[in-house]
């Protein structure tokens, strides 16, 4: 698998490195010193953009003023690979892992790389967002479509997966090279969403994939990369973007609009896991409890992820009023079923098929 990576615009510091034998490939690293004399340091390895986590971390530090936090941002696949290696070699790899690619976290837990954490806070987590008290979903993030208002006329705005397919089919030239989505080869969450799309509606997915292929979709490693293309107007429509990132981008650029597909909307709950090697599992547990607490959830809704399980959709988001109750929103259940997505043969074949269709096929059609 290629080692592509692209860094978010707000990265505080970046060190590019190859995988060391220990598997510690560091991404963007941020250090949050303790508000008071440091008495403990929590090392978090996350596949979650740091700007989303920062308000949460800072708010947490208000409740734990003597805790310093060392946060390193990874791409989901790297995070998984390093965590997996560390687990096999019984090495240290942070105290807490955060990843939007929950299937990878489930795989880690299945492989015995996680520590269970039970507290009053974890008891409030719904069953679909808790597996074995080891993997917890702490966010509520619909997978959305984002479009740039200036380039997508209102009649073009797709409201379902089918409408997007049709749009690309009927206006191929206008949208060629203007649709952005994940590169499955690089993005774990991209793969997961695509895999689940394929499972939700295989026909629709096949047709959509074909349309994306024909439209020479722009492939990026991460949400923010796609969103920055949208921001700059290079891309008109982003597909399968996590709502939280999309909303953050839309707040910065009012040209960006968010649509929740009305046929079905996958809802991802970002996962957290305490690895077996955790040195400060107590601090990790405390932070996890914070994330799951009302205060943490409230902060997340306001500052980090903008969507929440119980709350209404944020303003200016185009979508059904009651996401889960209407049956449109489909939370991704954190559980062993995700292991199917993590099967190596399955994964490689899925990505291979995808690559064949999206990457290889359009080469001859691509004008540049």
């Amino acid at each position: 698998m290629s080692m592509w990576r692209q860094f978010g615009p707000l990265a505080l510091g970046a060190i590019l490195g190859l995988a060391s034998p220990a598997g510690a490939v560091e991404g963007t690293r941020a250090f949050f010193p303790a508000l008071e004399a440091e008495r403990g340091r929590l090392v978090i390895n996350g596949a979650t953009d740091i700007e989303a986590m920062e308000p949460l971390i800072r708010d947490f530090q208000e409740t734990a003023r003597d805790v310093a936090i060392d946060y390193t941002d990874y791409v989901t696949n790297d995070l998984y690979r390093d965590a997996d290696i560390a687990c096999r070699l019984q090495q240290l790899f942070g105290d807490l892992l955060l990843s939007s690619s929950v299937d990878q976290l489930v795989k880690l837990a299945n492989d015995g790389c996680a520590l269970a954490h039970v507290s009053p806070a974890t008891r409030g987590v719904p069953a679909w967002a808790n597996w074995r008290d080891e993997v917890f979903g702490f966010t509520f993030e619909p997978s959305v479509m984002v479009y740039h208002k200036d380039f997508v006329p209102p009649e073009d705005v797709p409201h379902t997966h089918g409408e997007l397919t049709d749009l690309l089919r009927f206006k191929p030239d206008y949208y060629r090279g203007r649709i952005g989505t994940y590169d499955l080869r690089q993005s774990g969450i991209g793969y997961l969403l695509a895999f689940l799309d394929a499972q939700q509606a295989s026909t629709t997915y096949g047709r959509l994939l074909e349309s994306l292929s024909r439209a020479q979709a722009v492939l990026r490693c991460c949400n923010n990369a796609v969103l920055s293309e949208l921001d700059s107007g290079n891309v008109y429509i982003g597909y399968n973007i996590l709502g939280s990132y999309a909303y953050a981008a839309a707040r910065r650029n009012d040209k960006l609009r968010i649509v929740l597909p009305r046929d079905y909307t996958l809802i991802l709950s970002r996962g957290a896991l305490i690895p077996v090697g955790a040195k400060r599992r107590d601090l990790a547990g405390r932070f996890l409890d914070y994330l799951l607490s009302e205060r943490g959830q409230d902060m997340a809704r306001r500052e980090a992820f903008f969507f929440s399980r119980g709350g209404a959709l944020p303003a200016e988001v185009d979508g059904p009023a009651k996401l889960v109750e209407s049956g449109i929103g489909r939370p991704i259940r954190i559980g062993p079923a995700l292991l199917a997505a993590q099967d190596r043969l399955q994964r490689s074949r899925f990505i291979e098929d995808w690559t064949k269709l999206i990457v290889d096929t359009p080469v001859r059609l691509r004008p540049n």
């Binding site: 299945n110 015995g112 074995r132 559980g335 079923a337 292991l339």
Partner: protein, 461 residues
């Protein structure tokens, strides 16, 4: 060292409780075993289903074996919510197609050709249940056997087994408690005859040496038999002793009569005052000795008769009159008014005339010897269903605190002069044998009275 007191009841309860505990443990173990089997059976079906789903998704494409892992297979296993899942798909060449390469069950996978193989083993240091399922591939371009090794940790199984076991154990516990409670009741009930026997023994007159005649369960018979045997021997001894006393007393009579004859022949006229006084004392002692000897014999006879003579209805008035006449000597002090008053109607009791006469005679004799000053009255009367013989005298009487003592055998209130002798003991003995009592009425307005109180004879009883 004090020996710990053991109770038959607690011994039984303890032993039954031990047996019940043992049984409960055994049942619990069995319940655990079956619960495990049941849990395994239930979850094995899921495991098998998942494995079969995977084999069903095997495809051969251009000579290559491929497999799509259906999410539903994992969802099926996900019904055991907390359990981890490991799998391995093995191609005909023995290579791992996908899944956990190191998932080696140690079992020859080819064994699964004839049917699914289940086994319990450990993988990554956790216990897992493994199912191996085979599929024969018979594509023209590709043929052979492919296998799916499906493993799942056993948390849900253990949890189910644990739950089933604990429920079974609760039932076993309740049953054991019920059984114990039942046993306690049953033992209490079974031991009732023992209590009854104890009560019967306790209630017995200490002088009653007749065999214990109680309704006993067979198990207690030897025990009662031993008691009766012992009592029999004791009774024999007592009888022997009494006979000995009787014999001895009888033997003493003749020389005693002779002695009293000799004393009688001493002419007091020739003696000085001092010697006359001594002679008087000798006479008194001789007559006291004579009286005691007679009482001993009388006592022995009364005892003997109490268990050898059949009772029959007798007129107590008649008996009392005879006793009165034979007991009050002609030589009694002429200043004493000695009277006898019979009941207006006959007073029949069920008893032995001889013993009764002896009893009454002894009471009268006692009054004559120790009580009477001016007046001795013997009355026979009936009161409700009781027959009473009252012997009243105007003497000092017996203080109430000595009443119980004077009726006890061989006990007298004083030693030496004025001893009550055996008179009341004889009377009491006879009274008890006749289901009656000897009572005393304190000297108050009336005279001190000794009452022989015996139930009236009633036709048909």
């Amino acid at each position: 060292m004090k020996r710990r007191e053991t109770s038959l009841f607690w011994r039984l309860v303890l032993r039954v409780a031990l047996v019940l505990c043992g049984g409960a443990a055994l049942l619990s173990a069995a319940a655990w075993y079956y619960a495990r089997a049941a849990a395994d059976d239930a979850y094995d079906r899921l495991l098998l289903g998942a494995a079969i789903q995977i084999t069903a998704n095997m495809t051969v494409d251009a000579g290559n074996l491929g497999v799509t892992l259906p999410s539903s297979a994992f969802e099926l296993l996900g019904l055991a919510e907390r359990d981890r899942i490991f799998y391995r798909v093995v191609g005909p060449d023995g290579r791992t197609l996908t899944g956990y390469d190191d998932l080696d069950t140690g079992v020859d996978v080819t064994a699964a050709r004839t049917g699914p193989v289940f086994l319990t083993t450990e993988y990554r240091n956790v216990p897992v249940r493994v199912a191996v399922v085979s599929r024969a591939l018979s594509d023209p371009s590709f043929s052979g056997w492919a296998y799916v090794v499906m493993a799942q940790t056993t948390e849900a199984r253990r949890a189910l087994a644990g739950e089933l076991t604990s429920r079974a154990m609760i039932l076993v516990g309740i049953m054991s408690l019920l059984a114990l409670a039942g046993t306690v009741l049953a033992i209490r009930y079974s031991l009732l005859p023992v209590d009854a026997l104890a009560a019967a023994l306790r209630a017995r007159d200490p002088q009653d040496l007749t065999p214990v005649d109680a309704d006993m369960p067979r198990e207690l018979k030897p025990f009662v038999g031993s008691i009766n045997h012992f009592m029999g021997r004791l009774d024999e001894r007592v009888t022997l002793l009494q006979r000995f006393i009787a014999d001895a007393a009888h033997q003493i009579r003749t020389p005693l009569t002779a002695l009293s004859a000799q004393v009688d022949m001493l002419e007091d006229d020739d003696l000085d005052v001092n010697r006359k006084r001594h002679l008087g004392r000798v006479r008194d002692r001789v007559s006291q000795l004579a009286r005691l000897t007679n009482q001993l014999l009388s006592h022995a006879m009364v005892i003997h008769r109490s268990d050898s003579v059949r009772f029959k209805p007798v007129d107590l008035g008649d008996i009392a009159r005879k006793a009165f006449r034979s007991t009050v000597p002609i030589t009694v002090d002429p200043d004493v008014v000695v009277s006898f008053e019979d009941s207006a109607e006959p007073v029949f009791v069920r008893g032995d005339a001889v013993s009764l006469r002896e009893a009454i005679a002894n009471i009268i004799d006692n009054a004559l010897q120790h009580g009477v000053e001016q007046r001795l009255a013997v009355r026979v009367r009936r009161e409700d269903d009781r027959a009473l013989v009252e012997v009243a005298d105007d003497g000092p009487g017996i203080p109430p605190d000595e009443w119980s003592a004077v009726t006890a055998r061989f006990v007298s209130t004083k030693t030496g002069e004025g001893s009550m002798g055996l008179g009341f003991a004889i009377a009491a003995e006879v009274a008890v044998a006749h289901r009656g009592t000897v009572r005393f009425l304190e000297k108050g307005e009336g005279d001190f009275t000794v009452v022989l109180d015996i139930p009236l004879y009633q036709e048909g009883t």
